[in-house]
Symmetry: C2
Subunit: 189 residues, 2 copies
């Protein structure tokens, strides 16, 4: 039996909605982009209310973006963070953004990563994750964020991955509410 | 800037190595297939020493397989479990293998899922995960399995996902050791 090929794409609107030349300085600018991606994803009806972006930490250069693609691509793995990691790794040509020949990378995301995405951050090679809305904000809408505990963040810290939470939390949470108001599907397993 | 397209494929040898007509009865037969996939992946040098398969639980029908593709595809997300979930969801045409119109599904995997893959199992819609080698076996080779704790499995159980560990553990662990003996790269972030 011939095997499926899975193809992962970003929505067309990403090309024009993102300023690739800009330098993103500071956590708020980076998370603001992730939240804007989440908002545009809801507005265009191209996936769930989550966006992410991978940056070079020191230069503030944008490397790749991701938005949630679970529903349009029938693929439960395609959270915004996962898509951003895959796109960034393809762009730099390495399975780790922490390769010794690369600048240090960080992820900004519109909402705390779920268990899958926190685990993915560890493998991705980013050394910092900056988050907007909280796990509680997502759980309040019945998104099941999975087995993440306070000691999960301790584990990440011991492995050299800093997680900063609650940056522009209210703006991130507002996009989650917008999705629900538009009757967006809550796509638990 | 035009956006990357990420394409996920299985190695060519999968077509001929897997018996798609067979019915896989019982946990050992299912995990044995996952371990055989892991072993073939090492032998063919097409990725890390991990394999997985998604089955219809009651009929034992094989739905999709996955092998680790991190190194050949430069993509840290592509663990065997993740690839199997994506392929299975594409085959059934749903973002959840737990959709009400589908038979119940389960995952067999050659080694305990890392934090990312355990989280992915929750979103995937499988109701059961059967594992071969243990987290400790993988950690002993310096694969960093991430923030998984005893309460992680309790969380999964409360959400209706049963995780069964240690089925054919020694056979699964032997493939991990074979990978190391062949100087396979340990691809942490």
């Amino acid at each position: 039996m011939s095997q499926p090929v899975v193809q992962i794409t970003l929505p067309d609107w990403v090309d024009t909605a993102v300023d690739w030349e800009r330098r993103y300085d500071g956590d708020e600018a980076k998370v603001a982009l992730a939240i804007e991606l989440a908002r545009e994803n809801v507005r265009h009806d191209t996936g769930g209310p989550f966006g992410s972006a991978v940056f070079e930490r020191d230069s503030g250069r944008l490397v790749a973006v991701g938005v949630n693609r679970v529903l349009p691509l029938n693929n439960s793995v395609l959270h915004g963070e996962i898509v951003a990691f895959m796109m960034a790794q393809q762009r730099v040509g390495s399975y780790t953004l922490g390769a010794p020949n690369l600048p240090r990378h960080e992820l900004a995301t519109s909402c705390d990563p779920c268990a899958m995405c926190l685990g993915a951050a560890l493998w991705s090679g980013v050394k910092r994750v900056v988050c907007g809305a909280t796990r509680e904000d997502a759980m309040a809408l019945n998104f099941d964020e999975g087995p993440v505990f306070p000691e999960s963040f301790d584990y990440m810290a011991r492995r050299g991955v800093e997680v900063v939470r609650g940056v522009l939390r209210e703006e991130g949470a507002a996009v989650l509410r917008m999705y629900v108001e538009r009757s967006g599907e809550i796509y638990n397993g």
